[in-house]
């Protein structure tokens, strides 16, 4: 699939979910929430940051409050372990009340810590909800890191102190001669 086509599909990627309104007195009272995302694929070098935006829309007729959105990361390779804390320091966002048929946008910043293929997703829930609902999957491909050449830095690491040392000795000798 071409990139523009993926972008169009990403824009249309909408998940319809049901979340209990926080102020509902009976646990069975559910209201639909739609979660969409600005992209569903991304590429990053290891160590780089990437960002994406999630839109949470209240598709019901009553205001929704107490919504909590949480970011999670899943590795698609069995040998790559993900510690989500390393990937994002702000993984939970507490949303202000969303009026009926209105939406709120959430920005997420993610640090690509491991290389490989990952799925990043946002789940939304409330304190009163029996279930939580995940938004569209963001497929992240993280390329391996470029290693610095330790041998290359050696000349710089040796030459700079050597130049300063030569300068120091020259100044000291000149001073002794003057005395």
């Amino acid at each position: 699939m071409s990139r523009p086509a993926r972008a169009v599909l990403a824009g249309l990627a909408v998940t319809v979910v049901t979340v209990a309104p926080a102020r509902a007195e009976t646990p069975g009272a559910l209201q639909p929430v739609e979660i969409s995302q600005d992209t569903t694929t991304t590429r990053a070098d290891i160590g780089a940051q990437f960002t994406f935006t999630t839109t949470v829309r209240n598709a019901g007729d009553q205001p929704l409050s107490g919504l909590v959105a949480h970011l999670n990361i899943v590795s698609l390779h069995a040998d790559v372990t993900v510690d989500p804390e390393d990937w994002s320091t702000h993984r939970t966002q507490y949303l202000a009340a969303v009026p009926p048929h209105a939406s709120t946008r959430l920005s997420w910043s993610v640090h690509a810590v491991n290389d490989g293929r990952f799925v990043v997703y946002v789940a939304v829930t409330t304190a009163a909800a029996d279930t939580l609902t995940a938004g569209p999957a963001l497929h992240a491909v993280v390329s391996p890191q470029r290693h610095l050449d330790a041998g290359g830095v050696l000349p710089v690491a040796v030459a700079v102190p050597a130049v300063v040392l030569v300068l120091l000795i020259a100044v000291r000798r000149r001073r002794r001669r003057m005395i």
Partner: protein, 256 residues
């Protein structure tokens, strides 16, 4: 201005030809060599992305240079007092704030030389990342603000304290206090009061700006708000040091 130039020239000669300037810079260069070699070779540190390695080296460079400048500034007046040479210094036909400013300029020269020494390391680590220019420019600007603040603080403390030991102790304590917010856990760095603390502390705010610019590649103008604290405090500390310096007096100090 001529008096300031004469005083600064004398202080520069004292620092670089007969004083501790070159030995301190040698130690600084060795430290940067070890840091950059570890960043490039050590597997654990090599986990860092290349721009993070540049950011780390810049931050170490600025932080250690600030420490060196603080040491020299904190010794400026209290050291003269303790060595019994303040009396002859005060006989110099120049306003006392000029004497202090001359010593401040000499101490600041340590930062400029340290910056020049750090350029080859930053150049090597930043090759191919496209951040070399902004790392060097931002490093010079932010480093100058942090160093000006700490240098002024050191000079003011050195002027009002009777002993060199007290001046150095108080200066080190304040330096540690200035670096303390950089060590706060990430969770503690969010929230109104923490944000104000991070922005007001010139060391934390300056290093944060550097990191955003070099590591995260954000536009230079986007986080300029983080430099308000360092600029205001650097200017205020310099003005306070000159004011305190104008009242410099010959008090008996304890000889070492």
């Amino acid at each position: 201005m001529t008096r300031l130039r004469v005083v600064a020239a004398q202080e520069l000669r004292d620092l670089w030809l007969t004083g501790r300037g070159l030995p301190l810079i040698l130690a600084y260069a060795v430290l940067l060599s070890v840091t950059s070699y570890l960043v490039a070779s050590n597997r654990a540190l090599n986990f860092l992305e290349q721009r993070e390695a540049v950011g780390l080296t810049l931050q170490v460079g600025v932080g250690v240079a600030a420490l060196l400048v603080l040491v020299v500034a904190a010794d400026a007046i209290s050291g003269e007092r303790e060595r019994g040479t303040l009396e002859s210094l005060l006989l110099t036909p120049a306003p006392r704030w000029v004497l202090l400013a001359g010593k401040g300029l000499a101490a600041m020269s340590l930062w400029l030389v340290a910056y020049v020494v750090s350029v080859p390391y930053v150049w090597y680590l930043a090759r191919g990342t496209g951040v070399l220019g902004r790392a060097l420019v931002a490093g010079l600007g932010v480093g100058t603000l942090i160093v000006l603040f700490l240098c002024s603080l050191g000079l003011a403390i050195s002027t009002v304290t009777g002993s060199n030991r007290v001046a150095l102790s108080v200066s080190f304590f304040l330096l540690l206090a200035a670096f303390f917010p950089t060590q706060l856990p990430t969770a503690a760095q969010s929230g109104g009061v923490a944000d104000v603390l991070l922005r007001v502390d010139p060391v934390t705010a300056g290093l944060h700006y550097l990191s955003e610019l070099v590591v995260r590649g954000r536009p230079a103008g986007e986080d300029l708000g983080w430099l308000v604290g360092p600029i205001v405090l650097a200017v205020a500390a310099a003005a306070a040091a000159c004011t305190v310096g104008a009242r410099m007096s010959l008090r008996p100090g304890r000889r070492a």
